[in-house]
């Protein structure tokens, strides 16, 4: 059974369709990339899958359950999480607190419990902080353990979002251009991180323009153009697809 199944999905803004009649599936345990020209609808697709937008029509099934239009926090509970192309950092908090917010789902949230600060809460807070520090180390942010988010550079914040998403222990992780703003060496580090995430059994959906990375780690690639599917297949198939080369890769790929 596939983890995510998108069928005839359409989203229009005013008269313009950003996603049109799109169908595809994502198998559990794979790294699945989505590529396509700027404005092809990749981020919109992420927004539809994660509940930020409601589909105009069509269906999104996650774990065999219809989730089109379901609110993002419910999807997070079901095991979906993501990062953003336009960063969604909590600038009013420290780096590690940003990650701890990611762990929210798994923490005690009783009102009385919190207001009276029962001892179990204090303990769990301590533990969560430790775990989140480890996650920061994992994505290569060890040096930012005690930094405020507002004092971090763009590239560091991109990784912070990955750590935050991981803290939620997702089944499905959607990454929107995780390597943007990273140099080749840093990109390789993120590459490693993604592989290790996948190795833990988390299904990864990746939107990325860095073809070296995409071709290197993807099990499967979906190419979008003008909101519709242009091609689908293994990296090797995509790399040699003339339509993809014309619309997207050019000769650089």
């Amino acid at each position: 059974m596939s983890l995510l199944k998108v069928t005839n999905l359409t989203k229009s803004f005013g008269g313009v369709s950003a996603i049109r009649d799109l169908s595809f599936t994502i198998e559990a345990g794979t790294i699945h990339s989505i590529i396509g020209p700027n404005g092809a609808g990749k981020t919109t697709l992420f927004n539809l899958i994660t509940g930020v937008y409601t589909p105009s029509s069509g269906s999104v099934r996650f774990n065999d359950r219809e989730v089109g239009g379901v609110e993002p926090h419910k999807l997070a509970e079901l095991g979906m999480n993501r990062t953003f192309q336009n960063l969604q950092i909590f600038h009013n908090m420290s780096a590690v607190e940003n990650v701890m917010v990611g762990a929210h789902l798994h923490l005690q949230k009783g009102l009385l419990h919190s207001m009276l600060r029962l001892p179990s809460l204090a303990r769990s807070e301590r533990e969560t902080r430790e775990q989140c520090w480890e996650l920061m180390d994992f994505v290569g942010l060890a040096q930012y353990r005690h930094t405020e988010a507002s004092a971090m550079s763009y590239g560091a914040l991109k990784r912070l979002e990955i750590a935050r998403a991981l803290a939620a222990k997702p089944k499905l992780l959607l990454l929107d251009e995780p390597a943007a703003g990273l140099n080749d060496t840093e990109t390789r580090e993120v590459d490693e991180v993604i592989k290790r995430i996948a190795a833990q059994g988390i299904t990864v959906v990746l939107v990325e323009h860095d073809m070296k990375m995409v071709m290197g780690i993807s099990d499967h690639i979906l190419v979008l153009d003008y909101g519709a599917k242009l091609a689908e297949g293994t990296p090797a198939e995509i790399r040699s697809n003339p339509d993809v080369i014309a619309a997207y890769l050019g000769t650089v790929g």
Partner: protein, 234 residues
């Protein structure tokens, strides 16, 4: 020298982000600046544009000391920037964003320039009445580039202009930069895509935690082992 930076220091609160940076750019030169996340590249460009406070050092532009000059006067002198994170005027239309690029060019006829931008980035033309904030990330990046060019600057500061662009467009951006250089524009280019940046640059600087650690011809840097290991992923 068109641009001469000496001993530049800058702080965020108590954190020193620039620790005495020296950089010089000759007229018509294309200079690349590479460095890891958090090295201080963005901070340097912000300081050059006058939107980041400077605690020591000096900046000379075309013979004037502009260290203390307010941002808008620097634009007037011909310094334009494509900032990190694009910084488009979200609620304003694409066209109005481009118009804002001509703000300091009184008497200019923006219409022609605008057509040129639309030729380079056709998607912007289709979207010209659309609010800039609704564009996709890559489309916004094109807009930021086009907007800066609308001011027809003498010195163009580019902070990761290829970020978020599709491979075809990355090529297009680098081509455009080369064209601008050929037309005589002076360019300071910050790029994570160090390989390509150094590939088209005359000279390059390497920045590490607020310091310039290497400065040389671009080709030399491309061949340098340390550069290869740290920035080119080789």
């Amino acid at each position: 020298m068109l641009l001469e930076i000496q001993g530049l220091e800058s702080h965020y609160g108590r954190v020193k982000a620039l620790k005495g940076v020296d950089v010089a750019v000759k007229p018509g030169e294309l200079v690349a600046l590479v460095g890891a996340n958090g090295a201080g590249k963005t901070t340097l460009l912000r300081a050059l544009s006058g939107v980041q406070s400077i605690s020591a050092g000096s900046i000379r532009f075309d013979g004037h000391d502009i260290t203390r000059l307010p941002a808008h006067k620097r634009v007037q002198l011909g310094i334009a920037q494509v900032p990190e994170g694009r910084q488009v005027f979200g609620p304003m239309s694409v066209e109005d964003n481009l118009l804002m690029g001509t703000y300091r060019r009184r008497g200019a006829k923006p219409a022609d320039d605008m057509e040129r931008m639309y030729d380079t980035f056709p998607i912007l033309k289709t979207k010209r009445k659309q609010a800039a904030g609704l564009l996709s990330g890559g489309q916004q990046q094109m807009l930021a580039m086009a907007r800066a060019l609308m001011s027809n600057p003498r010195l163009l500061l580019l902070d990761e202009p290829s970020m978020g662009l599709a491979p075809l467009l990355v090529g297009e951006i680098f081509n455009a930069v080369e064209r601008l250089k050929a037309q005589g524009m002076t360019i300071l280019l910050v790029e994570q895509n160090a390989f390509q940046a150094l590939g088209i640059a005359d000279r390059g600087y390497v920045m590490e935690t607020g310091d310039i650690t290497m400065a040389d011809d671009a080709q030399v840097l491309l061949g340098d082992e340390r550069v290869k290991a740290a920035y080119l992923g080789l």
